[in-house]
């Protein structure tokens, strides 16, 4: 054993080693740190040797895990030392102690540069090494040209040039602009002719990085790579020292094959033939040998060759050879090879035509799902997930469920999610789906997110045939002694809604059902709910449970509601009902409450409701309601006027909509102040309004509306047609746009009526509630509402009462089913009479494309294969969009988020680009993945290139147009200038020079 060569350092290390416990070690370290600190303070007395010693000690202490918050300055200053030993320490310790963002580094940029351009080769190496390891953007800008010179200099020794190559790679990663592509492709081609394999190894890494960003520019290098591979495959002219267990540098072979995977295809027939020969040789000629290292090295090359064959989408024969090899690998005992076999088989799934061959290995793969090594199990899980389809879903999902029993914590979440997704995607029948999800909740309730059980509820609700089955299943689970909270919730919901279907079965009478649910409910933690509504229901439920004999009435089967008229409204309508009727109303309102106890009577949205989004609870000031039930009503968030009359959102969640320009909004000055207050405010106040407000004839808002930019032609077209004497007192256009990205708010308001809207979306279903609030003390008559649906929407509007009593509010549910992708918009044709005036408005409903999108986050391994697989005409379309609102990228990102497109940072390594993923739901497409990419031009923010891909050409087209509409004209523009119209498809000639061929660009990412 050799000692450090610095006595003081060796002694210190020995001392540390001799410490018996952590406390002793800390004392020793503190003592040393104190010593170093004092010595550094009066630096004058320090010899270069001592400085060096202390700096190494500092690094040692840092390595032990102690914070070293001083000595950085001293370390960095050693870089400028005149002699090699101190300089060396300065460079090496600096690159261990500091990271690229440290300010001290800036001070030495000049010294570093002088070392790089100086004559001393050793100093050049030190400087290149440090910059290569921790150089940041600033280094990139000031040093790149000098580093390039060293790389291509013929007078430099290999030891400098290989460092220069990797140093340049670092600088390029920090700032791609430092490598000017024009000149570099030729230089790169020359560099790939390098004979020194050390330099070539480094150059190849640089090349991989360059080509990954822009394969197009380096076509000329492709044949060189093939030649390098040929040379290595034949072991031609490879010095002994560059073979590893007899294999010509496996690392260089791997890197070279990696570089080739960035080229979309290899067209040159000569190069292609030569390459396939090499690949064939690797595929056929790799044997399993005893020596582990040799085996690993040859298989490293083999797996890279497999990846390249898959990338090149080689002839069928070669591909089936690959599958056969992988089939062999997943059955071997050697864990690394088996792991890689599984991993590569998952990648293989993306190649067409081999899925069926892979399926033959299903049993073998399932064995790996039971392997003791979690790494192997993860690969097996991924592969099973990837290869699952309708034919094998039952078997695979059942295996996953079984595995869930024994799976460790770290895997359960992923496992449950995957099982749930597969069950939904490939369910052969819905009852099986219900079974699977209930089992999932039972086995791993903690990992079943609310979304999953909401979905079950939704399926059951929409499939009558399923309801008795689901209810019976739920009932079975309730017999278990210990139940997960989620299971209680879902069973309570299902039995609450469909328990009556079981009424004749033993143990399923309403009373028994009630008793058993009541028994389990205490395990559900209502107090944790931030949603006031849920808390309220919980209290009601508690009260109800103490009703005693009256309970039987309450528990009576829920009668069908022919129309959704609220009990409250009924009362408001007729205050003088006789007592008999009153008790009927009372009963009904209780029943209504009872159905709402278990889960609110709307599709469940509890649990996950964020605090910022809580609903405003309002008590209706109805006189005779007070004592019998605490019925509460959810109101859509509404606007309360500020002093200046500008509406302010009550709801605190502002989302990502650009702020409204308040000044430009003009409120009708003539309106009575109180009448500006909306219905809600009226109700909150003690009925302060004396009479109906005067109808406003000349409403400035109208002028504003018509002057506004021709966004949303439909709304304006219909607005112009409306020759009503009563005019809206809100900007209808703007309200519509707000509701496009929010799910509750005001849709329309005039002096007599306010129409609010609240919506909930589940996959391709939407459930909207229109709130029609009469603001007057006189009734609104001849109320009519009609939906004019576009062909892609199925809508069902509940019946609308002919009259809305004074100060009353009516809720009208509207069900929407999305059949396919379209940008067309449903219109609500609404009319009423007040006094002598007939008011008729046509309002666009915010049932827009993005409501059926659900953002999804994809990892690069999920994204790129999909992106590649969609390289099909019409499925992936691209367009250069001009006249775009010049937005900085983060703003585009937030716009995307408001459209439910999940921006995935890091997928595209060009900082000017942005990639987003989402899932679109419709009846025809079901859940369909959509991928979006935009490439902006930093020089010209008014144009960008938009690429949209999905598995459905109509969806692709509609989504592209939809995004375009938002990019070109952000909703709610306040400026009077009309937006630049959408430009149709531009000829490729118009593509700015900074853009490259899309295929090549994305291949660069792969």
């Amino acid at each position: 054993m050799a000692l450090s060569g610095m006595r003081g350092l060796s002694v210190f290390i020995s001392d540390i080693r001799n410490c018996h416990n952590k406390e002793q070690e800390r004392l020793r370290v503190d003592k040393e740190l104190g010593n170093i600190r004092t010595r550094f303070k009066n630096e004058k007395g320090l010899s270069p040797y001592e400085k060096k010693k202390y700096v190494w000690k500092t690094l040692y202490i840092y390595m032990l895990g102690y914070d070293v918050d001083f000595g950085h300055m001293e370390t960095v200053s050693l870089i400028s030392a005149p002699k090699y030993p101190e300089k060396q320490v300065g460079y090496i310790v600096t690159s261990c102690l500091l990271n690229e963002n440290n300010d001290f580094l800036r001070m030495v940029i000049n010294t570093v540069r002088n070392d790089i351009i100086g004559r001393n080769e050793t100093y050049q190496c030190l400087a290149l090494t440090m910059v290569g390891n921790i150089g940041g953007k600033e280094f990139s800008e000031s040093l790149a040209p000098d580093v390039q010179k060293l790389l291509i200099s013929s007078s430099c020794r290999p030891v400098v040039r290989k460092k220069a190559a990797l140093c340049l790679l670092r600088l390029y990663r920090k700032n791609p602009d430092v490598v000017n592509i024009d000149g570099w492709s030729d230089r790169m081609a020359q560099l790939l002719d390098e004979r020194d394999l050390g330099v070539l190894t480094s150059v190849m890494s640089l090349f991989v990085s360059l080509v990954s960003n822009n394969a197009e520019a380096y076509w000329n290098c492709l044949p060189k790579c093939v030649r390098i591979l040929e040379r290595m495959a034949r072991n031609q002219d490879i010095p002994q020292e560059y073979t590893y267990y007899g294999i010509p540098s496996p690392w260089l072979q791997v890197k070279t094959m990696r570089a080739l995977q960035y080229f979309p295809t290899i067209e040159d027939p000569g190069a292609r033939r030569a390459l396939f020969e090499v690949l064939q040789r690797i595929l056929m000629g790799t044997d399993v040998v005893k020596n582990v290292n040799k085996n690993n090295a040859s298989h490293a090359v083999l797996f890279e060759a497999l990846a390249l064959v898959m990338h090149l989408d080689a002839e069928k024969e070669m591909m089936s050879q690959c599958v056969a090899l992988l089939g062999k690998f997943i059955a071997v005992r050697e864990p690394n090879i088996r792991y890689l076999g599984l991993e590569n088989m998952s990648r293989m799934l993306l190649v067409t035509d081999v899925q069926d061959i892979i399926k033959r290995h299903q049993a073998q793969i399932i064995t790996s799902l039971k392997d003791p090594d979690i790494s192997i199990r993860r690969r097996a899980l991924d592969l099973l997930y990837g290869m699952c389809d309708v034919t094998n879903a039952k078997e695979i999902v059942e295996e996953l469920l079984q595995y869930l029993n024994t799976a460790e914590f770290a895997m359960r979440e992923e496992l449950s999610l995957k099982a749930a997704i597969l069950a939904e995607k490939f369910a052969p029948d819905l009852s099986w789906y219900v079974d699977v999800i209930l089992q999932l909740i039972d086995k791993a309730g903690d990992f079943v997110s609310d979304d999953i059980w909401y979905r079950v509820v939704q399926f059951v609700t929409n499939n009558e045939d399923l309801q008795p089955y689901a209810a019976a299943k739920a009932r079975e689970y309730l017999d278990k002694p210990a139940l997960h909270e989620t299971m209680v919730k879902v069973s309570a919901y299902l039995l609450g809604e469909y328990g009556h279907l079981l009424a004749r079965r033993p143990g399923c009478s309403p009373k028994e059902l009630f008793a058993i649910i009541n028994d389990k409910l205490p395990t559900v933690s209502y107090e944790s709910y931030i949603d006031v509504e849920i808390q309220q229901r919980a209290v009601e439920y508690f009260e109800l449970s103490r009703k005693g004999a009256a309970l039987a009435d309450v528990l009576a089967e829920m009668p069908k509601f022919p129309e959704r008229e609220s009990a409250l409204l009924k009362k408001a309508e007729d205050a003088e009902v006789d007592t008999a009727e009153q008790s009927a109303i009372k009963l009904r309102s209780q029943q209504q409450t009872s159905s709402a106890i278990v889960v609110a009577d709307q599709p469940p949205v509890n649990g996950s409701v964020p605090a910022s989004n809580h609903l405003t609870l309002v008590k209706m000031p109805s006189q005779n309601i007070t004592e019998d039930s605490n019925v509460t009503y959810e109101e859509p968030p509404v606007e309360i006027p500020k002093e200046n009359g500008a509406p302010v959102e009550v709801e605190s969640k502002v989302e990502n909509i650009p702020e409204t320009n308040i000044e430009s909004k003009v409120e009708p000055p003539a309106v009575h102040p109180a009448s500006q207050a909306d219905l809600l405010a009226d109700l909150l106040g003690p009925l302060a309004i004396e009479g109906p407000p005067a109808a406003v004839e000349q409403n400035p808002v109208q002028g504003l509306e018509t002057n506004q930019s021709p966004v949303g032609d439909l709304a304006l077209a219909t607005l112009e047609d409306q020759s009503n004497s009563v005019q809206p007192i809100v900007n209808v256009e703007e309200k519509f746009h707000i509701l496009c990205s929010k799910d509750s708010g005001v849709l329309y308001e005039d002096p007599h009526i306010q129409i609010g809207l609240k919506a909930e979306w589940r996959a391709h279903h939407g459930r909207l509630v229109l709130f029609l609030g009469n603001k007057n003390t006189a009734p609104l008559l001849s109320v009519q509402a009609l939906i004019l649906p576009p062909s892609h929407l199925k809508t069902e509007l509940s019946s609308v009462p002919d009259t809305i009593p004074p100060r009353a509010q009516v809720q009208i549910p509207l069900e929407v089913v999305n059949l396919r992708a379209s940008r067309d918009v449903a219109v609500l044709d609404f009319s009423y009479t007040f006094g002598t005036s007939l008011v008729n408005v046509k309002l666009r409903l915010p049932v827009v494309l993005n409501k059926f999108l659900q953002p999804i986050t994809l990892s690069p391994e999920e994204f790129f294969p999909q992106w590649k697989a969609l390289n099909v005409q019409n499925l992936k379309v691209q367009e250069v969009v001009k006249g775009v609102k010049p937005l900085p990228l983060p703003e585009i990102a937030s716009l995307f988020m408001s459209l439910h497109l999940a921006v995935a940072p890091g997928l595209d390594n060009n900082p000017n680009n942005l990639v987003a993923c989402t899932t679109f739901f419709s009846e025809t497409t079901r859940a369909m993945l959509c991928l979006v990419r935009i490439e902006t031009d930093p020089q010209d923010r008014t144009q960008l290139r938009l690429t949209v891909a999905s598995g459905d050409q109509y969806l692709t087209f509609e989504l592209k147009e939809y995004i375009k509409e938002h990019l070109i004209d952000i909703p709610r523009v306040q400026t009077a200038s009309p937006p630049v119209p959408v430009q149709p498809q531009l000829p490729p000639a118009a593509v700015p020079a900074t853009y490259n061929d899309p295929g090549a660009m994305l291949a660069g990412l792969l």
Partner: protein
């Protein structure tokens, strides 16, 4: 992470740790804060230390992969991108160990403890910017000889 490009294809860090979790060498090629480094070292140690020798040499670590190999009581771990070639890095570790073995003639943990500064020097000749720089054992040993003469 400051730069998305760093997520592509490079060694993010190399750790040498003993069974007790003491770090013998730590080299980061991506900028991390000190606290983050300590966390990473702790987590990687926990991840690899109890794995059965019959298991794979690959473990998923956050969004990356750790390729590790155990030599006596020492764990050599490299964190790489999940799409990287695992076996190539696994043998990269072995090559590094062979170089250390050659340099210290029959390397043991104590050599690496008392000469940690030399280990850093050797590593800098072997890997740079998170990429393999030189795969010839002879070239590296010769280079170390040159450098020792200068001290």
């Amino acid at each position: 992470m400051a730069d998305t490009r760093e997520t592509f294809q490079q060694i993010r860090f190399i750790l040498l740790q003993n069974r007790q979790g003491k770090t013998r060498l730590a080299k980061y090629y991506v900028p991390l804060e000190d606290s983050e480094k300590h966390k990473v070292e702790y987590e990687v140690h926990r991840l690899v230390v109890n794995r059965d020798p019959k298991f794979t040499n690959f473990v998923e670590f956050r969004t990356h992969k750790v390729i590790y190999r155990r030599y006596a009581g020492l764990f050599f771990s490299m964190c790489v991108d999940i799409t990287d070639n695992e076996l190539a890095y696994l043998e990269c570790i072995h090559l590094f160990v062979e170089i250390l073995d050659h340099f210290f003639s029959n390397v043991c943990e104590l050599d690496l403890v008392f000469n940690f500064h030399k280990v850093y020097l050797i590593l800098d000749e072997f890997i740079l910017a998170g990429e393999l720089q030189e795969t010839s054992k002879r070239a590296i040993i010769e280079r170390m000889g040159e450098l020792e003469k200068l001290e």
